[in-house]
Amino acid sequence: MDSRAFRRFRRNKGALGGLVLVVAVTVLGLAGPWLAPYDPVEQFTDALLLHNGLPAGPGIEPGHWLGGDVLARDELSRLLSGARVSMLVAYLATALAVLIGVTLGLVSGYVGGRLDTFLMRVVDVVLSMPFLLIAIVMQRVWDAPGIWTICVVLGVLSWTTLARITRAKTMEARELDYIQAARALGLRHVRILARHVLPNVMGPIIAIATILVARMIIAESALSFLGLGVRPPTASWGSMLNDSQSLLLGVPRLTLYPAVLISMAVFGFNLFGEGLRDAFDPKD
């Protein structure tokens, strides 16, 4: 990030707020499972299940600060270990999408011609794939779906925007004098792409990738909310929303906790990403 972009970013209060949220949820994802006071899948049927069959509320049982969940597990511990799953999936899926999208975008924009036409047609096909449907079918194909399956599915289906942007920026960069010079000098194409073109197109890629993390958080939670994401008893924020659906009216707090965390994480990544985009590509 050059210093002008950095200054523009620092002046943007919203973007800074976004950065704070991003750091917060990332730390939560890294440290969450260690901070969790209990095993997230252990059931405390004696302590956390009331006589009316509902889970105990916050503060009723000492040590269980947020009370119990639908199956009398420690809610706080599940939220904390769920943070790891949700953030891990979001980051890994985004990394995969960046890897595919940026590589194809670079090659497509740099090589041009028939390969470019073909790759952009592939983008069209991927865009026409019904996301949830493919994700669901893939879940059934791999019999033991875990976090990794979800990462692969999400990553493989969401690289298209990145590829398009990278391609457009690469086509611009290709015409720059010093890249023409590097080609004339006979440098290897891979080296030109990695050392000279990539740094030039990096800014917008980082911004889009940040916003993509927000999308991946939403997508993972959506799958888990439909019961098609992480398998029980593993907790993710989305699967916790799914678990709490049956008690929406009786114990609304079980819906609110993960809902607030998901919204905060998505909000943070969106704000941060938009701030980056404005910093790299100022319009006003």
Binding site: P130, F131, L226, Q245, S263, E274
Partner: protein
């Protein structure tokens, strides 16, 4: 122009075909429809019988070509299986035959025809709300640029974009249906007016993200337009602000918004899966989940086909509308 549309349409058909091919084979990788549909208690001869009727005992490529309608029908229970003269008929999508649902005991066309109007009601209400809320919020924000109402609206749009429907849906049910009792608690209702009443809350939830996007686009365009000389002249002549906004600004903002609507249509029509699930709205979204869970292959294929057509049509219509609205744009291939 005509050339462009034809080329694009041809390309669209090609894209749809590749998606259809992919999904068709994916379903067979996903599992055995006969076993899933008949359940774990089914006897071996029942499964064999079902497979023979549906042509599932044939090689998968043959099934696929029969589904496309380029090879004679393999589904023995289809009325088109045998023609009157004893020769084999065709029963594929080329003949306009989407087959028969495995679990609904109805033709796929009937199942979809039953569900589609409900989803269309939801989608059209959602677009209406998106436009009303989004455009007016955008206009207000632009006219009060950098004042607190603008900041508030822009903050709200950011929240709107960041809130997924599975967060806003349950919370709105809790608040507006359960605590306040203004709306019914999900479902579809019994008569047309009741359907409309039941559709209000889900379509509002569906409209949140779109409205936020339109508000941001509208604000940006309006600020841009208000800078133009001809708008300054209009204002200097004493043209009231409301007319300036309507005559010049909204017209300019129409372009990106029409494009956005075109691109969002497939997701409103086919992708309201989560909203339909939360509000128990028995439309295409719920049908999609049900058919995937039961591996109801003909219905899955039809949904995929419709989604593909909607994406391609949305893209094409957006391009055409933009060209029609902006004389500077000429469609080239």
């Amino acid at each position: 122009m005509i050339r462009f549309i034809l080329l694009r349409a041809m390309w669209g058909v090609l894209v749809i075909m590749s998606v259809v091919t992919l999904v068709f084979f994916l379903i067979f990788v996903a599992g055995d429809p006969a076993v899933t549909v008949l359940g774990p208690q089914a006897r071996a001869e029942q499964i064999a019988d079902f497979k023979a009727k549906k042509g599932l005992d044939q090689p998968v490529p043959a099934q696929f070509l029969s589904y496309l309608g380029v090879m004679p029908c393999v589904r023995k229970d289809s009325p088109k299986y045998e023609r009157d003269d004893g020769s084999r008929g065709f029963c594929g999508i080329l003949q306009g035959d989407l087959g028969e649902s495995y679990s609904h005991h109805e033709s796929v066309a009937a199942v979809i025809g039953h569900r589609l109007p409900r989803t269309l009601l939801l989608a059209s209400l959602a677009v209406l709300f998106e436009l009303i809320i989004g455009l007016s919020a955008g206009v207000i924000a632009a006219l009060r640029r950098n004042r607190w109402s603008d900041t508030l609206i822009m903050f709200a749009t950011f929240v709107g974009i960041s809130l997924p429907t599975y967060v806003t849906g349950p919370i709105s049910l809790l608040l507006f249906a359960f605590l306040l009792g203004w709306f019914p608690f999900g479902g579809y209702g019994v008569d047309p007016l009741d359907h409309l009443y039941h559709a209000l809350l889900p379509s509002l939830i569906l409209a949140v993200a779109g409205a936020a996007t339109y508000a941001r686009v509208m604000r940006g365009e309006l600020i841009e337009t208000l800078r133009h000389d001809h708008v300054r002249t209009a204002k200097a002549k004493g043209m009231p602000m409301s007319r300036v906004v309507i005559k010049h600004a909204i017209r300019n903002a129409l372009l990106p918004i029409v494009t956005l609507i075109g691109l969002s249509l497939p997701f409103l029509v086919g992708g309201a899966i989560i909203t339909e699930k939360i509000f128990a709205w028995p439309g295409l979204g719920l049908l999609t989940i049900e058919s995937i869970e039961s591996l109801d292959a003909p219905v899955i294929m039809a949904v995929v086909l419709m989604f593909g057509v909607a994406v391609q049509m949305g893209n094409l219509l957006a391009d055409i509308a933009v060209a029609a609205l902006d004389p500077r744009i000429r469609l080239e291939d």
